[in-house]
Amino acid sequence: MRDLEVINNYLETQATKCFNLLYSRYASKIYGKCLTILKDEALAEDATQEIFMKIFLNLSRFEEKAKFSTWIYSITYNYCIDYLRRKQKQENVFSDDEIEKAPEIPDEISDEALIEMEVKHLKNVLDSMPAGDRAILLMKYQDDMSIKEIADTLNRSESAIKMKIKRAKEKAQKLKEELFTHN
């Protein structure tokens, strides 16, 4: 059954089997993202529960403009970013004032260099990066979100997102060299 059919069915009947179906499809993915961004299992578990509550209480507001997965991942990323903002009392997890004005420079690090990094190394590299960079790399390489979808999710311009991805890739590459080259 497609996501949309399950959603409509849930909205009509509130059936637990529809809840279970959506939960089984997405809970583990949401948890994985929360864990990567928040870096704490207990926090990620609580976040997964709260994000799912948000999703189910706002299910009727889901519009078919985007894929359901994109919609729930947007909720997930925004929840985690807001949480970190509140916790760190930090205005910008995505500090991109300068990025908005920066000229477009071609990407020097290939996608392959990043996505073919050993899983263990990738995990360490992501853990060492700022939360905003982690989130943006997950959106691009794990969720296959387009630049426009990422820009819409984070409420930024597409050029700012391109620049942010470029810088995050550079940071990841640099961290990989620092952490693993001499081993």
């Binding site: 583990s28 948890y31 299992e41 529960q49 509550m53 189910f56 996505i115 990738l122 794990q142």
Partner: protein, 99 residues
């Protein structure tokens, strides 16, 4: 097929979630959603009555006291075989459009 270790990382985290966290989060969610549904039903059931009560306390006339909602039809006026009982949603037989 191109390797994407971001996806592999996700798969590993999914396995950990299913083994260690799935049941706890699912149970917590079902309980919270059940609570929300219960509160919603209570509000649905009693909020209109509360409004009626406030209106009556202010000296007004409420819908429920002004209409014949909920009343049964005397058997003498009921269609044959129904014994005056209405099914849910069935009108009393008056076509208000013809008035």
């Amino acid at each position: 097929m191109q390797i994407n270790n971001f996806k592999r990382l996700q798969e590993e985290e999914e396995i950990v979630y299913r083994e260690q966290h799935d049941e706890k989060v699912r149970a917590g969610l079902l309980s919270s959603l059940g609570m929300f549904r219960f509160v919603g039903q209570v509000v649905d059931m009693y909020l209109p009555k509360l409004f009626d009560l406030l209106i009556m306390a202010a000296g007004g006339k409420t819908d429920s006291s002004a209409t014949t909602r909920g009343k049964s039809i005397p058997p003498s006026q009921a269609p044959e075989g129904t014994n005056g009982k209405r099914r849910p949603g069935e009108s009393m037989g008056d076509d208000i459009s013809s008035r």
